[in-house]
């Protein structure tokens, strides 16, 4: 039989936006813009023979459609087969053995965190990734001791945002990064200069100095293409759940247990609480299932499954389903209206 049924590889997933679409390539971790008309062809007419597709459009656009297909073949996103039954779509299910996947722990002037309690609770819930943000300057000894503690637990990656100060120099921090392979990133904020190592960002062990100051939890929730993540895990999670808050637990600078430090609702003092009990509390997980299909504006955005989200800083505080406040993208126009503020935190 002739191979004339165009099929996208199962890792290439088309997502429609208001003015244009993208194909997300989960294997090669990139995306490609396509017109909405091509999105329609790829989804509505999936599994049909090429000639049938031509006919659907009254053979009016054969050349254009052929060009589209040639382009996708060239990009290695599309191939032709003779039996579409052999090539089903990938399941969009998401599952994870971690009851908690990541955690943010903030440090302010008044913080008195019981690190052993917090880390052992996180470990017990399967949490392997933590982010520690300090709004105040802490000594090198403090970070050294903290990392020693962290390495006693099954934490595999740590992102640290520390405030610049005496003793936190390139050399000393570099040796901290070398000593603890769990460190994914040390970002020294409020620094008088900007610096990052050659080859940044690496898979692990990154160090950077940034002039941007992070003096409170409000430095979060920024939406920018540089934060887009494209892989099978995050895509399916974003498809089903909230890409920021799902399976997250945080400790704010005052030691309160929250879903995210920027949220108002708190669930007791972290130092004294059994985290697993908190997960059972009604309310703690209420935002976990808000995916971007439910969020105003985002629901018509082609980036909705590769974009992060923020439910703490939203355009309309009275509408929990309104768009993230710090996003400048307008899906209707397909344009970033102003340059997004790019801060790592």
């Amino acid at each position: 039989m002739e191979k004339n049924i165009p099929i996208l590889y199962s890792c290439c997933i088309p997502v429609k936006g208001a003015s244009r679409s993208i194909v997300c390539d989960l294997q090669r971790k990139s995306f490609l813009y396509i017109p909405n008309s091509l999105y329609e062809i790829l989804t509505l007419h999936r599994g049909k023979r090429k000639e049938e597709i031509f006919q659907t459009y009254d053979n009016q656009y054969n050349d254009t459609i052929q060009e589209y297909f040639d382009f996708l073949v060239e990009q290695e996103m599309l191939f032709y087969c003779d039996d579409s039954e052999r090539f089903p779509k990938m399941s969009m299910d998401w599952m994870s053995p971690a009851q908690i996947q990541d955690s943010i722990i903030d440090i302010g002037a008044e913080s008195a965190h019981d690190w052993d309690h917090i880390l052992s609770q996180l470990e017990g819930l399967g949490c392997r990734h933590i982010q520690v943000r300090s709004f105040v300057n802490k000594s090198l000894d403090f970070w050294q001791e903290l990392m020693e503690k962290v390495s006693e637990y099954a934490i595999i990656s740590v992102e640290i945002h520390m405030k610049h100060g005496v003793g936190l120099e390139k050399e000393s921090l570099n040796s901290l990064v070398q000593t603890f392979p769990q460190i994914f990133l040390i970002n020294v904020h409020s620094s008088p200069f900007t610096w990052f190592a050659e080859g940044f960002p690496r898979r692990m062990g990154n160090l950077q100095f940034s002039k941007v100051s992070i003096d409170s939890e409000t430095h979060c929730g920024v939406i920018s293409p540089s934060f887009f993540i494209i892989n099978e895990k995050t895509f399916t999670e974003g498809w089903n759940h909230n890409s920021c808050l799902n399976r997250k637990i945080s400790v704010d600078q005052y030691g309160m247990l929250k879903n995210c430090p920027s949220m108002v609702e708190a669930f007791g003092l972290a130092n004294e609480t059994d985290f697993e009990e908190v997960l059972k509390k009604e309310g703690f997980t209420k935002l976990w299932n808000i995916n971007k299909d439910q969020v105003e504006v985002c629901k018509s955005c082609e980036f909705r499954y590769i974009c992060t989200d923020c439910r703490a800083y939203i355009q309309n505080p009275n509408d929990p389903l309104s768009k993230p406040a710090k996003c400048n993208y307008n899906p209707a126009l397909g344009k970033w209206e102003t340059v997004a503020e790019t801060s790592l935190a």
Binding site: E76, E85, F87, P97, E232
Partner: protein
Amino acid sequence: MILILAETIDKSVNDVIDWLTYFKLPFLRINESEFIQSIRIESRSHDWSIKLELEGKKLDLDDVKAYWYRRGDLKMAVKVAAGGEPVLLEQLHFHIQDEWAKLREFLFARLADIPSIGNGLIEVNAANKLKNLQLAKTCGLDIPKTYIFSKKKHLQALQETGESYILKGISEIISMNWKEGGNTYYQASSHTVGIDEGLSLEVGDHFFPSCIQEKIEKEYELRVFFLCNELFAMAIFSQLSEATQTDNRMEAYEGQNRCTLYKLPDTISEKITRFMKVLGLNCGSIDLIKSVDGRYIFLEVNPVGQFNYVSENCNYQLEFQVAKTLKDFS
């Protein structure tokens, strides 16, 4: 308790263990680097009591409700006392090794009584590519035309047919290591070469028996993870990159090959299921080729093949499936 025999570094094992932890199922992992320090076995009226001690770990087979033979081994350091006639000591050493081999075999046989995924004993027997080709054929699967030659003239005769053939290892990947300037280098190679390349290597008139297979023009390769009669298939379009036409295991390219979720025709699934059943394996990775002329051709089965690549690219959640199977067994 769930017993896992594994190698020290294995992402799939770690991922499955995360799920066991999620299910709150206790487990004991024994890596191939760990040696048994003491053994206590006692015959009982119907079975045996078997207790092993490893450094920091105790294993009582009565507690094992399910078992996963992933890779690795049960190992014991075989030592003979120093002193004495070297020739005799050597013979004694061989004898003690034999003693251990039988004891090890017995341990794996008793482990095989426990509901399990994989099986240490069968894994040893199953890893014969030629026997498996024969069995696959008996089960109705197509196999590549296969020859084993040791004379140049046979090889040349084949070459004269004008068809394409490839040279292939009969056993496993060859891995070699050597020392140079204080560093140890490793090289593992399993790659398949075309017969012309093979002949140009100045083959003598007689050579060690070598396996030659017809080169199949492939539309795509198929990797199938088999777990308790369920098949999870993925097609690999390796022909996209020229360099991988003969064997896509030429590592650097594998990440780039296009992979796509695949559903095997029922008839092929049934044949593979029958093959695995006769082989006595409930888990394994099967390699096939879909030829340009539309045939499904069985290449080989790996009882302990890596599966995270298939799992991730097709979102099959195989780590969960394995953990769930162990949970259901226990």
